[in-house]
């Protein structure tokens, strides 16, 4: 066999087939995978979609999504994060970038690539080096006070989802209050209360995504970093102020 350096995969053509890359972050068990299934069901007829899952253990989320039958199983790929799901979406996105680019190349042209983070904690957010926009997901079963606790994803993800609202009566959570708290924590940023079977909320989510896609395609969408910290309050003699660590600042 002659010696060759030709790679086992074709060169990247990602820039010519650039999708909208949307991150889905949030703690373990809030319903990130099922939210992805919901998005696929709502949009798979009109958009070409791909999914990258990030798991702490191998590819369980990818297998769940493949078995959900909402998308061609080959369009769902798993990235293994070596026990560091936070690193893989924020400070070292190498493996995820390769996975997104390969998916975009193999199924070109894709409109939307959903990147699911491995379930982590309230501080895990995506780097804009990997995704264009991100959803942060909470659920009512995790407690009505979580939204108030804040965090970069809760405070400044492009959209905050309060999931599993259908469970609210069983866990004693006031959904309206939780959404109000979340809206306050986000200084008015968008919050969507969602349940798997809530058609009205799903329609709202669908509109939000299509609008984002249109803005992205028009070249008007600028990816925002939610940052490593939540905006927080400083007391001072003028009554205090809230800031978000956008500039240099020493405590």
């Amino acid at each position: 066999m002659p010696d060759t350096l030709s790679p086992e995969v074709a060169p990247d053509t990602a820039e010519t087939n650039r999708s909208l890359r949307l991150g889905i972050a949030g703690p373990v068990g809030v319903g990130k995978s099922s939210l992805i299934a919901t998005i696929c069901r709502a949009l798979a007829d009109e958009l070409q979609i791909g999914v990258i899952t990030n798991d702490i253990y191998t590819d369980e989320d990818a297998r769940f999504l493949r078995s959900a039958g909402v998308l061609d199983p080959e369009r769902i790929r798993a990235v293994e994060t070596g026990a560091c799901p936070h690193t893989a979406i924020r400070d070292d996105v190498t493996a995820n970038l390769f996975a997104v680019e390969e998916l975009e190349r193999d199924f070109a042209p894709l409109d939307l690539v959903l990147v699911e983070s491995g379930g982590d904690n309230l501080t895990a957010t995506f780097s804009p080096a990997l995704i264009d926009a991100q959803l942060f997901v909470l659920d009512v079963a995790g407690g009505g006070d979580v939204a108030r606790k804040g965090g970069p994803g809760i405070g400044r993800a492009d959209l905050l989802i309060v999931n599993k609202t259908d469970l609210a009566p069983y866990v004693g959570v006031d959904v309206e209050q939780m959404v109000a708290d979340a809206t306050a924590a986000r200084e008015g940023g968008p919050v969507l209360a969602l349940a798997r079977d809530d058609e009205k909320a799903i329609a709202e989510l669908r509109s939000w995504l299509l609008e984002l896609l249109a803005t992205h395609r028009a070249g008007q969408h600028v990816p925002q970093d939610p940052g490593p910290m939540a905006p927080h309050f400083h007391a001072d003699e003028n009554g205090g102020y809230i800031h978000s660590h956008e500039g240099e600042h020493a405590h």
């Binding site: 010696d3 060759t4 350096l5 060169p11 191998t58 293994e80 070292d92 190498t94 390769f98």
Partner: protein, 223 residues
Amino acid sequence: MKLSSTTLAMLLADSRLPVGAHVVSNGLEAALRGGMAPELAPEYMCARMATTVLVEAGTAIVTRALVAAGEIERIARVRSEWEARTPSRALREIAIALGDGLARMGRTVWPESLLAGSLPARGLPRPLVLGVLAAEQGLEAGDLARLVAYEDAQTVAAALLKLEPLDPATAVRWALEACEYFEAYAPSVTVLTEPEAIPAFSGPQIEEWAEAHTSLERRLFRA
């Protein structure tokens, strides 16, 4: 950009380098799941020094020599020789995944590199990418060989602390003892210049574990 060999070695050995390397245990998880006792980790590190590390270091050293001599067209031969010495598909795949990550970083940091020029953007194993960067940026052969060895042992040590926690300083000591063990081999590897001369010691048990690892359920590390 002009850096000392020391700075380059520190950079490339730094686990904080964003090249996607945190997903590997250098086969340690596979070994433990295959029944190796955790207290044998020091011997495991040394066994790698005498086998896979020699192949990787030799591949990097010869690539460095060829690039330095301007014999770019012979890099393909290095790749073939590396493949012939790495019969496990799983081990080839992870070496290429790590090479892709390193090459991606290299292209951005050093846009004048061959990695951004005539070499393919994907599909080069990590030791080959290391050899290219070493030649272009001035990492000396001795430092390059020791970088490969150090990084190999430290990856095992760091993975051990996740899989079978112990006093972390003990794992550091084991990694350094493995590096010391490698010193006996370093002089003979460092002087290599021909692809055919790359050491051909294999670790069949490491290869078998690596293959078995790809089908394991609930693994923490990719390899």
